[in-house]
């Protein structure tokens, strides 16, 4: 990335080292750790993605075969892609909206605001594994949800065991875990919206709904965009919840891209798993670029 400018004034770069030696020395530890633990492995796994590699015996170069198999032959991977996209759509459809609604409610002069804020944020502080284990119990055949349904006279639901709605069940748990983050984020931003703007809009006769769309939302746009970018990238990496709650089943209905990557790793097909990780990488880069193009540019202007 910084190859360009470095080439242009190479002499300057060397002189820079001399001049800013201490500075370079100071950034060296984090820089080295990024190179060694992030960039290095990324390059190595890029190489592996073109090989048949078990992790134990030596890798054998097979060109694009892994990518070809994944994109054109592997039905489970196709399903994992679809599952992941569906999960992102459900999660990012509901999460930020819930976050916004709760933030708007808490932005009123409610009593015990900080208590509610803590409540909403608490699941966010708890590890996915703990939350998923608890939700797995709630969803179980004689768990709380089915007991409540039974109390209301309804038939029990096989929340995680039915391929038709296992993914939705996982998504609901994830949304519950995640929207508190958006609540806190939006709440902080809401408090930064100048009161004068609202007052001015009120003078012009704008109702609460109109004020939300004309004043609040535009003011919150950078935060909303940020929440979506972080949210989409996070949701695309769906793993912990399905690992704990369903292990990808039943019938692969909750197998996500990352979980599938993990099972291929478990099968000691590291080349294949690396190819999956690069496909995911490309998807995430494209999505980030798209979001930046759609929303980010205006911010600069």
């Amino acid at each position: 990335m910084n190859k360009g400018p470095a080439k242009k004034k190479q002499g300057g770069f060397l002189r820079g080292i001399h001049k800013y030696g201490t500075a370079y020395l100071l950034i060296a530890p984090p820089l080295l750790s990024i190179l060694i633990f992030l960039v290095g492995p990324m390059l190595v796994s890029l190489y592996w993605s073109f090989t048949d590699y078990s992790g134990i015996s030596a890798p054998v170069w097979i060109g694009l075969k892994n990518y070809h198999d994944l994109l054109f032959k592997d039905k489970i991977f196709g399903q994992a892609m679809w599952n992941t996209v569906a999960f992102v759509l459900i999660g990012e459809g509901a999460g930020p909206v819930l976050g916004m609604l709760t933030a708007l409610m808490l932005n009123q002069d409610v009593k015990g605001r900080s208590f509610f804020r803590t409540c909403y944020f608490l699941p966010q502080m708890t590890s996915f594994v703990v939350i998923s284990t608890v939700w797995k119990m709630l969803y179980s055949g004689n768990g709380l949800f089915n007991e409540l349904l039974g109390f209301l006279g309804a038939a029990p639901v096989n929340w995680l065991g039915d391929p038709n709605h296992a993914l939705l069940s996982v998504a609901i748990a994830s949304i519950w875990q995640g929207f508190g983050f958006e609540t806190v984020l939006f709440l902080a931003a809401l408090q930064g919206v100048p009161k004068e703007l609202h007052e001015a809009a009120m003078m012009d006769g704008a109702g609460p709904l109109r004020r939300f769309f004309a004043v609040t939302l535009p003011a919150l746009k950078p935060v909303v965009v940020y929440a979506y970018i972080v949210g989409v990238i996070g949701s695309f990496q769906l793993y912990d919840q399905v690992y704990v709650m369903t292990y990808g089943g039943p019938m692969h209905s909750t197998t996500s891209i990352v979980l599938y990557l993990f099972t291929k790793f478990r099968d000691l097909r590291l080349g294949y798993a690396s190819a999956i990780s690069y496909i995911l990488f490309v998807i995430l880069v494209l999505l980030s670029w798209l979001q930046w193009r759609l929303f980010g540019k205006e911010e600069e202007a």
């Binding site: 179980s140 391929p163 099968d267």
Partner: protein, 417 residues
């Protein structure tokens, strides 16, 4: 530049020194052992005795569950930082062995276990299961074959006798169940349906392990029967994740019969001690081809890249020492695999938990007709495809034949890789 070169040189020099010292030292050794047994592991007490006998070796046992171990061991073997010794499920071995991740124990041992030729220490079936392409890759510690566990108290009350054939299984299970209670438990994995495939004369793979045959007429018939227990006769309960822990189903009476291995004797005793006298074990009902079970169990392995191989082998030998060899039975309630241990008096003693009967004899009998799962590198993948097919079948999403055909096609692809 020179200023900060000095520390680098010093660090390098010290680390080199440390490495060379570490290699030369013959002093105290810390043996890292990964163990998947869980709470009732026999290894803990064996390790304590071992450390008393070998004060210069410290055994450090890391407890991991079955699933966690399965995940972690692969990573460690691939990453090159494996433990010195590990307990593993026999079905994991082919993948690891075919990649050269396991030490050849023939070389490490010189062919002898505690002074006796290894080939004299085990039954022929066990010896076969311990070998991969002519190399001995594991020492079998306990074995796993399936029998039928049943609620003896209810059987007596209802005047039932344990089913001897498949037809009787349907009949007895029908009389045993009361609504949602006392059902025959079934699981959509590779272990449980395979029992029925073997009993019906079917196999999972062909004889040279190049093609899946679990969609053959015999196998399809067997899986059809198995799934009918749930879908047609409605005498079974499918034990999936949403049902909670298996032991819970045993305790609250949802399960009245199940097919499983001897390790469940230990699980019952520690997990449901209040049910003493309520359970018994009978030979598994036989199909048209007679008896047949999968043969699995626990193996002790030494990874190829282990640091202290000799100490690991020493510990393995100690596990099979005369005084320690029955520990899988006495501590974990599992069946030791060593022939000498099987003949120990503790094992033939009547067991008060199982109504004063020697439940163990049943498993010994089953071992004679048991066969290990196929030893192929892609076994994990194949059992995954098979499990998905079972899910499809039991959810009624697909016919038995279609689901197994689809899984067989995927398995063939994995075998060709």
């Amino acid at each position: 530049m020179r200023k900060f070169l000095l520390p680098v040189v010093l660090v390098l020099a010290f680390s080199l020194l440390a490495v060379s010292c570490g290699k030369k030292a013959e002093g105290p050794v810390t043996l890292t052992v990964w163990d998947y047994y869980g709470e009732s592991t026999p290894l803990k007490s064996v390790a304590e005795d071992f450390m008393k006998a070998n004060p210069n070796i410290t055994v450090n046992i890391e407890e991991l569950g079955w699933q966690a171990m399965n995940d972690k061991l692969d990573v460690a073997l691939a990453g090159g930082t494996p433990p010195d010794m590990a307990t593993v499920d026999m079905t994991w071995l082919p993948k690891l062995a075919s990649l050269g991740a396991l030490s050849d124990l023939d070389k490490l041992s010189g062919g002898k276990l505690n002074g006796k030729p290894i080939s004299d220490c085990y039954s022929a079936g066990a010896l076969n299961a311990m070998k991969y392409q002519g190399r001995t890759i594991t020492m079998m510690y306990d074995f796993d074959v399936y029998c039928l566990y049943y609620r003896a108290d209810l059987f007596e009350k209802k005047g039932l006798t344990p089913p001897k054939t498949w037809d009787e299984l349907v009949e007895v299970a029908g009389k045993l169940k009361e609504g949602d209670k006392y059902r025959y438990s079934m699981q959509p994995d590779a272990f449980h349906p395979t029992q029925f495939i073997y009993e019906n004369g079917g196999s999972l793979l062909n004889s040279d392990n190049t093609k899946a045959v679990f969609n053959s007429p015999e196998a399809v018939e067997a899986v059809q029967f198995y799934s009918d227990l749930l879908l047609k006769h409605d005498v079974a309960i499918e034990w999936t994740v949403d049902k909670g822990a298996f032991i819970q189903g045993i305790k609250d009476g949802r399960i009245g019969m199940f097919s499983d291995g001897p390790y469940m004797m230990g699980v019952l005793k520690t997990g449901a001690p209040e049910m003493s006298g309520m359970w018994k074990v009978a030979p598994h009902p036989v199909g048209k081809a007679g008896a047949g079970s999968y043969l699995g169990g626990t193996g002790l392995i030494v990874p190829e890249k282990a640091e202290h191989k000799d100490a690991a082998w020493k510990f393995i030998q100690f596990c099979f020492d005369e005084k320690e060899m029955t520990a899988p039975f006495t501590k974990a309630g599992a069946s030791p695999a060593l022939t000498a241990a099987l003949e120990a008096p503790e094992l033939s003693a009547p067991d008060s938990y199982f109504g004063g009967e020697n439940a163990f004899a049943c498993f010994l009998e089953a071992m004679n007709t048991a066969k290990p799962f196929p030893y192929v590198r892609s076994w994990d993948e194949i059992s995954g495809y098979f499990g998905t097919a079972m899910e499809q079948i039991l959810l009624g999403k697909s016919s038995v034949k279609d689901a197994l055909d689809e899984a067989a096609a995927k398995a063939d692809e994995a075998l060709a890789k």
